[in-house]
């Protein structure tokens, strides 16, 4: 890494501004499939890597955006801590910046929170080539607008992330996975019944006829929960959850379009045809289907959710359309951060 990789990135942004060049902010390039088609000259954040500060007793880690997610996870694991939102990496080269910009969270999300819930502060470059810091490294901070969280899931359209501070959590003392043989409807009902009880559940997944449930906590707590739940214990389940998060589970070997459908968790079985994998107590449904986007979205609108064309399908139409006034706010914010529109143009919505 060069002496001042942040300055290099700032200079690159300024040059792009001067020459009216669009930039495609690129980390490990593991998630280029996600969103509308990437356009522009690659701006490699991987030159800007390394952990800046990590103090286990503060529950905070600050790292440069180009740091490998795997390196961060390893460092945390050594101190028995973790990124509790379990970001999918989709490849060994995945960077922290990419994970935050995509805003995707894994199986533990409904129980502990999403990426945005753990972001405490960022240093970033806006579309004027300015070096800015928002938030900080403390747990609570309401000075100024919450720009840090706004960056999460913005797909790099508002700026280049330089450094990111995240809250981390201790890894559970113990985990245990149970499996139940049940159909889709019954699995939804079960997950919802359990969610209403104070049980130490930390992940659920239903696919085919099997419902997997992970418990996390103290030994006594887990033993007590097992008694309540029944089911069979699964050995070596870490691999199962990891494969699920990384989409290496057989379900994800598909030819059809893969839809990521986010709905209120208690929503009954969706009225759309195609194989469906359920996570998050019912809140996240992965659907394999080639029926037209319009018809899927109409159905999902009716249950108060939204549908993302996660892989495959029409690359123009990836994200659920926004209410007109909300789209206007998006465009206004884009102008506020990136007036020349040079960062990842159109990656999220046309004009954003």
């Amino acid at each position: 890494m060069s002496a001042d990789s942040a300055q290099e990135l700032i200079d690159a942004v300024k040059r792009a501004l001067d020459s009216n060049t669009n930039l495609c902010i690129t980390g490990g390039n593991t998630k280029s499939f996600y969103g509308r088609d990437p356009v522009g000259e690659p701006l490699l954040t991987t030159i800007h890597h390394g952990i800046v500060n990590y103090e286990p007793s503060e529950l905070v880690i600050t790292a440069r955006s180009g740091t490998l997610l795997a390196d961060i996870e390893l460092t945390l694991a050594e101190q028995k801590q973790m990124l509790a939102f379990e970001p999918p990496s989709f490849g060994k080269q995945a960077t922290l910046g990419g994970a935050v910009a995509c805003g995707l969270s894994g199986p533990r999300r409904p129980y502990v929170g999403a990426v945005r819930d753990f972001v405490l502060g960022v240093r970033m470059i806006n579309g004027r080539g300015e070096d800015l810091k928002f938030g900080g490294q403390v747990m609570k901070n309401v000075a100024g607008y919450d720009v840090s969280r706004l960056m999460v899931g913005a797909l790099g359209t508002l700026g280049v992330l330089l450094d990111i501070s995240l809250k981390v959590l201790p890894t559970p003392m113990m985990e245990c996975t149970l499996v139940f043989e049940v159909g889709h409807t019954q699995a939804l009902e079960l997950q919802n019944t359990w969610a209403a009880k104070p049980l130490p559940i930390s992940a659920t997944c239903h696919v085919g006829e099997l419902l997997h449930v992970r418990l996390s906590g103290s030994e006594k707590g887990i033993i007590a929960a097992r008694k309540q739940l029944g089911g069979e214990q699964v050995q070596g389940a870490d691999e199962f959850w990891c494969n699920l998060k990384e989409h290496r589970h057989d379900f994800f070997k598909q030819a059809e379009t893969l839809w990521r459908i986010s709905v209120p968790p208690a929503t009954p079985a969706l009225n759309v045809s195609g194989p469906c994998l359920v996570e998050w107590n019912g809140g996240l449904r992965w659907l394999k289907s080639d029926i037209p986007a319009q018809s899927i979205r109409t159905t999902i609108d009716m249950v108060g959710g939204h549908a993302t064309m996660f892989r495959g399908g029409d690359s123009e139409n990836v994200f659920h359309p926004l209410q007109q006034t909300v789209l206007t706010l998006h465009k206004n914010l884009k102008t506020a951060f990136d007036p020349a529109g040079i960062f990842n143009p159109g990656r999220m919505y046309e004009g954003v």
């Binding site: 103090e55 286990p56 007793s57 503060e58 529950l59 999300r109 929170g113 945005r116 819930d117 070096d131 810091k133 928002f134 900080g136 490294q137 403390v138 747990m139 609570k140 901070n141 309401v142 000075a143 100024g144 607008y145 919450d146 720009v147 969280r149 706004l150 899931g153 508002l158 959590l169 201790p170 003392m173 919802n192 969610a195 209403a196 009880k197 104070p198 130490p200 906590g217 103290s218 006594k220 707590g221 007590a224 986010s262 209120p264 968790p265 208690a266 809140g283 996240l284 959710g305 939204h306 994200f319 659920h320 926004l322 006034t325 909300v326 706010l329 206004n332 914010l333 506020a336 919505y349």
Partner: protein, 497 residues
Amino acid sequence: MSIAPKAENPSLQSQRARVASDLRRVVATDSVLDEEESLRPYECDGLSAYRRLPLVVVLPDTVDQVQQVVRYCHDNDIPIVARGAGTGLSGGALPIEDGVVLSLAKFNKVISVDKDNRTAVVQPGVRNLAISETVSHLGLYYAPDPSSQIACTIGGNVAENAGGLHCLKYGLTVHNVLEIKIVTIEGDLVTIGSNALDSPGYDLLALMTGSEGLLGIIVEVTVKLLTKPDCAKVIMASFDDIEKAGNAVANIITAGIIPGGLEMMDNAAIRVTEDFVHAGYDVEAAAILLCELDGTPEEVDDEIERVKLVLEQSGYTQMQVAKDDNQRQLFWSGRKSAFPAVGRISPDYYCMDGTIPRKTLGSVMSKVDELSRQYDLRVVNVFHAGDGNLHPLILYDGNVEGELERTEELGGAILDLCIEVGGTITGEHGVGMEKIDHMCIQFDTLELSQFHAVKQAFDTKRLLNPDKAVPTLHRCAEFGAMHVHKGQLKFPDIERF
């Protein structure tokens, strides 16, 4: 920098009459207040040192009326200050002389409760505690519990991103709200967030949360409800040294335990609250920690044992586990009544809200103590220790010439200190009017300009709660000059951190 009431100019009075009569075409006659007597209760929020009468107060009771009021103000360039219960501690709801106060007090209904998805849709004027009370029979509750929860509104909580005693484990308002409806300054009704766990596009919900009424009027909130834990127990431990207590906090967390609540009080706070509620606190201790663990009975028993061990290793002088729920409530009652308890021993107090990295707790405390002696003002400390969020309460008497000014200076010095150790000027009370000058220290010109650009994206005419939360660059330039100036003139011998 307090704002004293002053005589109004006649043109304001005619403007008042005109605006009141225009607004009476939108809402019922008695929902527009324009007499001095009826405006008086709105002249300040919980930070009573700052007072100003608004032009008029309007109390709509339908969303449609809110839209009409806002459109009227937008068309006529009239500033709007939204107001919930007015318990804010940073002057966020302080009126603007030529502006309208839009009170959401009449929006006090829980609209619906979704038992299966564990959510509730409520109007913005619903009190924080009323939500938990409404859903209690279902075994559910709304987690963020600011000490003001009997009075403050959920709209105000969203606008301030309020926290509470249990936010170390259960999060702040931003972690517990799913969807809001806002009225934009153009009068459009916009839905932000969703009933699912995430929503498409930018995270506007996070941006709106804590935006202090500068980006839109919140007219509906969908909150997440949690299942009440089966069991909760609290440990109280005393320390003969505040630094040791600070280290104990770090040790608990390093041991991999995230308590439901982890609060600290210093000796001054222990004494005032013990006098007030007789909670059985150790009045000789330099500091006490209250550590609450909740979950299933098995988990709680496990964690209690682990925490006891950590506290022992951290050198406590006394330790006690509340023997039943009554005693648990009693232990908390002291901490929860810290503000009123202080109110009994001092005519006025000023509550600070800086947040610092936990590891600096000990050193910051001793510097606060030093400052308190330098400024000759008593300081009582309560904190959300688990989050590093300090609430030094500076005791003063507003009737004593110069004491308020000295209090503000001491407060400023404490905020400078928080920034210096890598913290922030406000953890949960917001910037409002009170900390606006300190924003100039925490952020540089470019960052402040970016904030103004965000404001511009929502409110081009800058009519929503203008001149709060984010200082103009002009103001910062002036403040920069004044900061030094004051230091030289008033307290030349006081060391600055």
